[in-house]
């Protein structure tokens, strides 16, 4: 509360406090008088004007994240506080993920959006999937968990970072966003387009960087809870402490839900009941030019479900229990000898485990037991060198060690990789900037890869800038594609990962099971990384301080996609399969975002994405007349291009409309959002394995979500609201339970104590 003024003292040098629209002091502002005189602003956001200023002298006030303000000495001397307006559309936010250095959104030559704490709060969500699904161009798709889809590419191709470090643990390629609780997230950076030039594998469609809270106050503690339909409860506590350059931040979250059931006729829930606990401890110490940090996080989840197993026509019930464990440790040391150099050494150690057990209810017979354990260790050194004042050079190198041990894989498998990345950020003039980067990966499994990227931006004016970015992305073969050793006894087929094919085929041959090899054995096992080339180009158009239009066109051309294909015909008539680089896909589209601040209390925004995602081999087959379909009497017809609907699970049209309103009298905040997902193909029905029939589409739906919240003067926050208020259901979206209502409260203890 440093900005408390003493109104009875009216000296010429009264301190002036710089505040945001909500009245909170802005401590990081700076004030310029004339061309080069800078006035210091203290940590409470206050500054004092020097004496003997002329009345018509111009003062400029800047603060990161806010529109700059110009004011005359004559006007300012009558004020006790000076209000700044936040830059619209999070344009002023600093982004780390895009360049691995701090850079504000409006200066980045690539498409980036930032989801702020306020927006996260307004969604009323508990898990990360509920926040991300409301963003333009992002879809959450149910496939072995809640997976993200970006630019038409699935979760496999999106890198998820926690405070800049990669999170591991995927099931069938999907990173389950429900593993991440949102109450300790400060902001989320969404970086679109490939970033393999700094991150390597997986950063093909884009990167999500989750930045957790770091509280600068000497002491803070709060408790936050939300309750909602389906007996879902989310309880979080956090405490932080800052003194003598030490900082400690602790967070604990407990989540539970009964799940829900969209098909009551079938035993078991659509979403299983589960409980999850998340803990995080962040420790930091600054000491002169050194900074030390240790971040750690643990996650534990247990779920139970029932399923029916059909055997010879009779259904028997079985209990399915599963657990997931996740542990990360991330120490970082930063040394800043002077303003031109910064050296960072960091490492990330993670363990991800899953265990699942299926037992018959009547006799505890174990139908299936699966264990999976992945260990990941990365050490990385990064050097940032400021050249003159308009160039920043970044050099990084690292080593990666990964092991995996699982029921379906033989032995303990180990992978090693080394990498080197180089990035140059250059602002030749105020109008231009260029970021170039290249990364080389050397991997024990798939050899070497070079991933370049170049991005540039031109500011036609303060209001309008154009950006373009060309980059290469890649994704290494995953464990399943390399290591799987699977035999479906009842159907009689085999699936071998690329590393297991040679051994597998020899075994089958020695057993006399192989009838015919379908591929040249020299091709076995040579699995390459999937690779992409992409362009992203678009604009930021600030029509006024309160009106922003952003657009981005993208095209991703992906080749060497890995799919299963038969490599041997067995005497049983069935096949043995393995993984091969066989297919090519192209996704392209446009993302548009419109943000309009009508008054300081009312903001409206709208987003839209058009997406066209095709399998290029299918298009080729259609053009050469080799693709067929069946009519309602199962007779064959030829497929034409106009019949083809592209890849499954992609909506051609999607969009959102958001209204955020602060009622001035009651102080109630209202956030109303309509999230639309256009019709999409759910799967093949007519037998030709592609999307080409009206019966293969799921209906479009719009989810209306509303949150109401009120912050009392002592800091207590109360909220209520609901998701999917019109209760729209879609059997092809099993993560949508229908209408969900919630209430919540946040109790900031430190403020309650202070205000007494």
């Amino acid at each position: 509360m440093g900005c408390l003024l003493f109104p009875f003292l009216t000296l010429a040098s009264d301190p002036i406090c710089i505040r945001d629209q909500a009245g909170k002091p802005i401590p990081h502002a700076y004030v310029k008088i004339g061309p080069d005189k800078v006035v210091p602003v203290d940590s409470t956001g206050s500054f004092e004007l020097p004496d003997n200023l002329e009345d018509d002298q111009l003062i400029e006030v800047f603060a990161m994240g806010f529109d700059a303000r110009q004011i005359l000495v004559r006007e300012i001397s009558e004020l006790s506080s000076l209000l700044l307006t936040e830059k619209i559309g999070q344009m002023g936010e600093v982004v780390v993920a895009a360049t691995r250095t701090d850079r504000s959104v409006e200066d980045l030559p690539m498409p980036v959006t930032v989801i702020s704490r306020k927006q996260i709060q307004e969604t009323g969500g508990m898990r990360l999937s509920e926040v991300l699904r409301e963003q333009t161009g992002l879809q959450v798709v149910s496939d072995h968990g809640s997976g993200l889809q970006m630019q038409g590419l699935s979760s496999d191709y999106i890198l998820i970072l926690l405070d800049g470090e990669p999170l591991i643990g995927r099931t069938a390629g999907t990173f389950d966003l429900d593993r991440i609780s949102v109450t300790n997230i400060e902001r989320i950076e969404v970086l679109r387009g490939p970033s393999s030039a700094i991150y390597g594998s997986e950063a093909m469609a884009g990167v999500i960087n989750i930045i957790t809270k770091s509280n600068g106050q000497p002491f803070a503690a709060s408790l936050e809870s939300r309750f909602r339909s389906f007996s879902t409860m989310d309880l979080s506590g956090e405490a932080s402490f800052n003194q003598n350059d030490w900082s400690v931040q602790a967070y604990l979250n407990r989540f539970r839900t009964d799940g829900f059931d969209l098909n009551p006729d079938v035993p078991g829930n659509t979403q299983a009941p589960f409980q999850a606990t998340t803990g995080q401890v962040k420790l930091g110490k600054k000491s002169g030019k050194w900074e030390f940090r240790i971040y750690s996080r643990m996650y534990r989840e247990d779920s139970e479900n029932v399923l029916q197993i059909n055997e010879n026509g009779t259904g028997r019930l079985a209990d399915l229990s599963s657990e997931r464990r996740d542990l990360n440790l991330n120490p970082t040391v930063t040394y800043r000898p002077n303003e031109h150099w910064q050296l960072t050494l960091r490492s990330m150690t993670s363990v991800f485990e899953t265990h699942s057990l299926t037992e018959m209810q009547e006799d505890d017979f174990v139908v299936d037991a699966q264990d999976f354990q992945q260990r990941y260790h990365r050490t990385e050194f990064q050097l940032d060198r400021q050249l003159e004042n308009n160039q920043l050079l970044t050099l990084g190198m690292g080593h990666l060690l990964e092991t995996v041990d699982a029921t379906r894989y033989e032995d303990l498998n180990r992978f090693d990789a080394g990498y080197l990345y180089l990035q140059h950020q250059w602002d030749p003039t105020d109008r231009w900037n260029i970021v170039t980067g290249v990364r080389g990966d050397l991997h024990s499994q798939y050899g070497e890869r070079i991933s370049p990227k170049i991005s540039w931006m031109y500011k036609f004016s303060e209001k309008f800038s154009w950006q373009a970015s060309l980059g290469a992305g890649f994704k290494a073969p995953d464990f399943r594609q390399l290591l799987l050793n699977f035999n479906n006894a009842s159907a009689g087929y085999y699936v071998f990962g690329a590393n297991m094919v040679q051994e597998g085929i020899e075994r089958l041959q020695s057993q006399g099971l192989v009838q015919q090899l379908l591929l040249d054995p020299s091709q076995f096992g040579a699995l390459q990384a999937e690779s992409s080339l992409a362009i992203n180009t678009g604009f930021r158009w600030k029509l006024s301080n309160d009106l922003l239009l952003q657009g981005n066109f993208f095209q991703n051309n992906i080749s060497n996609l890995i799919e299963t294909a038969p490599f041997a015909r067995l005497t049983s008539g069935q096949n043995a399969f393995s993984y091969f680089n066989v297919s090519r896909v192209r996704t392209r589209g446009i993302e548009l975002d419109w943000t309009w601040r009508l008054t300081s209390h009312l903001q409206v925004s709208a987003g839209y994405m058009y997406l066209d995602a095709n399998d290029l081999d299918v298009l080729e087959q259609i053009d050469s007349g080799e693709l067929f379909r069946r009519d309602s009497e199962n007779r064959t017809q030829r497929v034409s291009r106009s019949d083809y609907g592209g890849l499954f699970n992609r909506s051609r049209h999607s969009g959102n409309l958001k209204i955020s309103y602060q009622e001035p009298v009651s102080g109630i905040n209202l956030a109303l959002r309509a999230i639309h997902r256009g019709t999409f193909g759910f799967g093949d029905v007519n037998g030709n394995l592609i999307l080409d029939d009206p019966s293969e589409y799921a209906q479009a739906m719009t989810s209306w979500n509303l949150s109401l919240s009120k912050t009392l003067s002592n800091g207590l926050l109360l909220e209520t609201g609901g998701f999917n208020l019109l209760n729209q259901l879609n059997q092809y979206e099993p993560s949508n339970p229908g209408r969900t209502l919630f209430v919540g409260a946040k109790v900031p203890f430190h403020q309650l104590v202070n205000s007494k």
């Binding site: 015909r569 008539g573 009497e633 199962n634 064959t636």
Partner: protein
């Protein structure tokens, strides 16, 4: 049990006189018509699902394209046979006849003659004329929905024991030829083959 009926027979011979190749002036019009065979029930072997071991071997169901009827046993004059997802021809390892098959791509109606590229084969221990396994021969098996669907655009060309040519399109693996969108692999009875075929009885390769 074996409920099956056929749309009989429309081979209309407008002229009974057989014509030789040179006689082009007064060539008689022969209008061939496709025959649809419905619900040919051909259950596969019984298997212990946990071990993959076959517990009961069931017989093939044999069919004569020439006569448009079932044939009781393996020694009879059948052309093709069905069991589960496997379709055999009467030759080589499957039977004592001379029937052969070739799998070609196209729509049933477009195939107006046996293409020169058609490669007629007999069944052999190391490879069936109509390859087995999903995606290889006549069907796809979707491992997530568990539906067996005839591959659109696959036509089976059969050379019968008598040396005539027929084209065959498998329409469905499920009872009463339902549209695939209505198939529930757990409840819709299978395997009940529905197929249509057209045979050229004059020994030429044109349909």
């Amino acid at each position: 049990m074996n409920k099956w009926n056929t749309f009989q027979a429309g081979i209309l011979l407008l002229a009974l006189s057989t014509s030789c190749e040179e006689n082009t002036v007064e060539e008689p019009e022969i209008e061939l018509q496709a025959v649809t065979v419905e619900n040919l029930h051909a259950p596969g072997d019984l298997m212990d699902r946990s071990t993959g071991e076959i517990t009961e071997v069931r017989p093939f169901r044999y069919f004569s394209l020439e006569d448009n009827q079932m044939v009781e046993d393996r020694e009879g004059d059948w052309d093709i046979g069905f069991k589960g997802t496997t379709i055999i021809v009467n030759s080589g390892s499957s039977g004592s006849g001379t029937a052969q098959a070739s799998v070609v791509t196209g729509t049933f109606d477009e195939i107006t003659s046996v293409p020169a590229t058609a490669d007629f084969k007999s069944d052999r221990e190391d490879g069936m004329a109509i390859p087995t396994g999903s995606g290889n021969g006549w069907y796809n098996y979707n491992s997530s929905s568990h539906i067996v669907s005839p591959i659109p655009g696959r036509v089976l060309l059969i050379r019968t024991n008598e040396g005539n040519h027929a084209k065959v399109e498998i329409l469905s693996y499920y009872q009463d030829n339902p549209p695939l969108s209505e198939v529930d692999p757990m409840t819709t009875p299978s395997p009940y083959f529905t197929f249509r075929y057209l045979i050229q009885p004059d020994g030429t390769i044109n349909f």
